[in-house]
Symmetry: C5
Subunit: 359 residues, 5 copies
């Protein structure tokens, strides 16, 4: 059927992505072709910055007495394992870092605080929300972050702030860096939602202006993106709650209020995504009502035309019969009387319809 | 399509406002053109009242040994920062005060109790609920309030009560002033809901009286306003809960029951907004049923006319054929018999319809 | 449109009542024209009973060393204030007592236990649930109750029981009297629900028997009454929970089980109101299905008539053309063959429809 | 309207039963005509079994030093009061035992543990779930059970097990007997659900096979029975939870795990009833879709017939006009050309419809 | 009715399976024809592996001082009882192991930790989710697992890992083996969901491409499978929660984080099944909209044809009457004028329809 103007191939491919799951027991994760490791070894006084194409050179910063942030772009099983071995990170976390489509979560395992969540991007081309899995490991004097995609530069703003000697990040301990990363990721959710919001507005305008057949398909497509949003935002609340309630020694009391602030933002993002859902439901009701009203209009036109036909057909049929004796047939004005009746009856019917409020 | 009689531009602009978000990382807040600072420095015995066009003169009341209420109308980044610096308010709160479309919340940061919520107004012109962000900082012997809009006078009734020496506000400590402000804001919600309620009643009357095509569009518009209400009221419950459960030294035990009273009002506002939603759903069902009933009426008219046509067409067709030998053609009463049958059959059909309860 | 046979004025007036709110800051409560104060001063041994037209004479029972129940019918601001002043009841409670459309709640303020809830009545005339606000103040050796309406005699059964020397009320302390009042009010909910239930049954019978156009309007009206029920019953659960969990010295341990019993009744009333809602949803589905089935029946009749017309029109049209050479025109049986075909085809079509299960 | 093939009288009578409430203040409970009291006085070694037509003879087992189970079939106010007086059971429980349509609940009052719940039976004749109220009072060395209906033998399997000396019931204390009774009642829920499940399956088969008009009425009837189930099962969870968490001395620690087992069964029954609800919603969607598809089929037939008529009517009309000069009228093949066009156009239209996927 | 292209017998048989319940009091479980017992008796140093066709030979490993895993494939009442007697497992657990369609649950009874849950398989042939009940009993130094189906080899991967001396299972105590089993079962859920997801995608493609009448029946069938999923996954959350919070001595603190990991997976499976549900709802809305759009298209064609007929019928009727005096009848161009009007009016009507956006 051609009435649904949606690229069918795209629609189902998106569903495929949505429904795809990866049992951690068999990780089909494709190995990254290249890996970049950035090291920022800093304290309030000094900052050392390095970029490597392998992970091994990072290990010498382990005992630098400064805070070291190691950012690994691109995931290769061996690299992740080497890094984790070196920093004493539990094997279960290695599995989590390498897993695909994980649910955002936090964990405290053997003196290390682990956060896994997704950076969201809005793909303008096909209007989808894309996600990149980010793992953050906060340890004593170090933060290690793993990103899936070497080509995207998520933490750029952080780098800028690190280079400024007077910035708060430089003054504080490693947990503040961890906060700054989470804050960056969560604030990015709003940018994605803003973009999605624009699509929704656009669609609503189309629904109000003109009921094109594709509207529901588009609503349906947008609802899928809202599922992605919800799936990513809702568990982040628990993640942050976990951090706030954690009694880990890695977390300074002074930093708690910052995590609370991020929590407030996530709550707001969550509320907003609920609002989006309400607006979508609202829009769908409006659209379906439009379709029904249009149907009603068609029915009314048919009713009118049917009424117009009625007397003409009946009278035409009566005087078109071939009986020998039909009254008025030979009357000079018979024809005109008949035609007049043909006209008067539908006019009268239309007048009744009007009175009943059908137009 | 012209069937939706809604000003399309307005409809989508409202959605835009609803869905708009502001990641705190990039506050696009427009600077206020003018700022007014009101100082009320009072104790049970005396009251000093000042109005300034800048915030700096307020600072000398800091150590007045009386309670000072500083109300800043109009938000300018530098002003907010100066005030907060001067009163030792944490930088995160400065960000919150300057943010846009924040979720109502309360926070206790470094010896200060912070409330952020929205004053609601009902815009009679376009039937929308407008919000003005209000930040209240309760400290030791001072309350600082920030309002977005210098032109609106939210706290007027409070000023009146402050000027009366015997009023409770004058007798009590700063937390009672804070209570009075929250009470004023929450009570205002009811005024907004009353106005919204009138719109709903008006619309319901239209829905019951006459199914105009615009009803669902209007229901849809009102539902958006209910989203605004819900978004503002629901988190205020948490805000007040937070205050009631707080163990801050700023809050006198005697004041708790007042905050509980405000909490009861918020609960009532929340219940009421749920009722509004139920009434709207109810109304929408009624409207859609009306549309369907009207459709049915059209169908019934078509059915009747179709039945009227049926025998005329068949008999007319039969005796209109040009066969040479057709019985009754030459009978004197043939025509009248045919016409009689044409009349009798639809009358009989109508009688059946009536019996089946179609009219 | 005339299809909705609801008294339009009544429908929207009811919505107005439902949506009406009263911000406590501006209580528009109309003063009662007359006030009646009943005093029951009793202990296990004796009972003194008085009726006054003003509240002042009641005050002398304050220190009677017996339990005194003061029941004030009709609310006048000055009276309430005088009574509360005299019995040391906090000003906030005065506001609550005088408020309109308050949410049921309980509060413990300064040695006094305060309950506010609504007595429900079923107005048989227009099928609505009416409510009368009742405030009960339980203090040390006294219970004060305030009723809005002087003409209704809510607590009559209690009076009877008080006059019986051996009754439990006489043996126990003031909290038992308070229990007896709550019990009376809650049991009355069931009477109201019973009446409402009868209306629902009546309506269901109408829906099942005959789909009149007014059914949905009536369902809609009943749903409004269910909103009233829900609004009144749900918070009473919290009220009773609050009493059961209260550690007030006013409440005897032996009385707790009675309050638990009332709580069970409220739970049952709440469950039942949920059932009502389910039954209503059920009924609405049934009604809408009826409307659709009826529509289908109309469509089927039209389909049949259309099929009946089809061959007659086509054949009549063919042999009614004025061509010079038309086969069979001069055949003696031509007319009869044509008519036979006109009859056979619709009969065949009807047979097909029957086979497809359309009748 | 005759399209709803439901016995109207039955449908609404069932609603009446569902919505019926009985405020405990006025118990209209009809007195049982006969009462049967069974006494089982047992310990591990011996069992004494008696059947009486009055309750008084049971009282001598009160101090038998053995466990005594008194089962009263048929409720008479005086009997219940006598029994309770004799065994020191609180008056509130007497009211509960005599109440009608009570919500299942448990209570600990003055050294006695009280359970009230309903035995469910499936009435095969009219497909309804019937309930019989059972009250169980567990005291020190005695269990008293009250049943509404003297004719039904709920606890028969228990009697069998009691007579076996080696059975667990005989070895354990009174709480185990109480467990055995609850277990019996809850397990019976599954039998009722199994029967109800069969009705649902039957109905689903009818819905899938043939969309008869009665399906929704039957779905509606079954949904009412699900309300009965839900109303009975959900509160039993709380009842058992209350027993498990109770710290009553009447409950042996060793018996707790048995009550947990019953709790698991109730949870399962609850889950299952949720599944039933889901299946019903599913079925209703399917049914409504069937109705719509059938409507569509009717519409398609009408569309086809309309299209068939179109050219015949137009061409027949054109060449049936009595103008003097009409082309082709005198042509030998004029008639055949006209008829051919009459045939070709509908065939072409059908071909288009087919291509659009309408058949 | 033949429009629902579902194998009716299969559809209802599946419902039967879904709704089937088995009160534990009467277990109709069919006895397995053959039983296989596998024993793995291991510690870090050595592994003994046996396969028996009866359970008795397993008992000698009871006191082997190594960890013994006894896996019983195929359930026979006597076998289960013998095993449990021998290992001191409580009789209630025997009942649970033998029960059918149990709700997943965990229990700690007399020094033993008991888990009951279902292994899920996807039956490719008829697209259903099949379940096999697995009971796991964790004791001091032993794990006993019971499987319903002797033909399926659930724990194969575990066996492989057991045979590797350096594997973690071999190094750890019995609770780790228990974890490994739960992990295996839960990870298998994802495989089943992946398969189900593929069916959903397939169906969505069909819904988008072509609205075949069977789509809703298929959606309905898939929804039933989602019920199975939900029923199995949701209680497993509680099961794992119970283990994590358990303070049993059987559980090593080091193993807790592994159980937490499984818990995270179950949460993810649960979230995913919610997404499935959302996608299905989405799809159903899309499908129903398709049906409506198609209906609208049919209506539009009928409206067009009706309009085409209108002038032809009226004019043909007028000039087909047999009056003696009809104007233009003798005019040379009369016929052509009439036909022209017959053509012009429908063209004009179509132009209006087009302008109203009907095509």
């Amino acid at each position: 059927m051609r009435t649904l103007g949606l690229n069918t191939l795209f629609g189902t491919r998106r569903t495929k992505e949505l429904l795809h799951v990866n049992p951690t027991i068999i990780p089909h994760r494709e190995e990254a072709r290249e890996v970049k490791a950035y090291v920022y070894d800093y304290d309030a006084a000094s900052l050392e910055e390095h970029e490597f194409n392998e992970v091994e050179p990072c290990f010498r910063f382990r005992h630098s007495n400064r805070i070291s942030w190691i950012n690994v772009d691109g995931l290769r099983k061996t690299d992740v394992e080497t890094v984790c071995d070196n920093y004493g990170i539990h094997g279960l976390l290695v599995e989590d870092i390498l897993s695909i489509h994980q649910r955002p979560k936090m964990d405290e395992v053997e003196g290390v605080l682990f956060c896994l969540l997704n950076m969201l991007y809005f793909n303008e081309t096909n209007g989808t929300v894309e996600q990149e899995q980010i793992s953050i490991v906060l340890g004593k004097d170090f933060v290690i972050s793993f990103q899936e995609d070497a080509s995207r530069d998520v933490f750029n703003p952080l780098r800028e702030r690190l280079r400024i000697t007077s910035s708060k990040i430089r003054q504080r301990s490693a947990d503040y860096l961890c906060y700054a990363m989470l804050d960056l990721i969560v604030d990015n959710y709003f940018l994605v939602m803003e973009k999605l919001g624009e699509r929704i507005e656009e669609l609503e305008e189309q629904v109000i202006r003109n009921t094109n057949n594709r509207a529901l398909a588009r609503i349906s497509a947008l609802r899928k993106e809202l599922i992605v949003l919800k799936r990513n935002i809702a568990p982040v609340r628990d993640l942050l709650n976990g951090i706030i309630r954690s009694e880990s020694e890695l977390l300074d009391d002074r930093t708690t209020k910052y995590f609370k602030d991020v929590y407030d933002h996530v709550m707001q993002a969550f509320d907003l995504s609920e609002n989006y859902r309400d607006v979508m439901v609202n829009m769908q009701d409006l659209y379906i009502n439009n379709v029904n009203l249009r149907m009603n209009e068609v029915m009314k036109v048919m009713a009118i035309v049917t009424c117009l036909l009625a007397p003409a057909t009946v009278i035409g049929g009566i005087f078109g019969m071939n009986f020998e004796k039909i009254p008025y047939l030979h009357n000079d004005y018979g024809f005109f009387i008949a035609v007049a009746v043909m006209l008067v009856i539908p006019v009268y019917m239309l007048w009744i319809f009007r009175k009943r409020g059908w137009f």
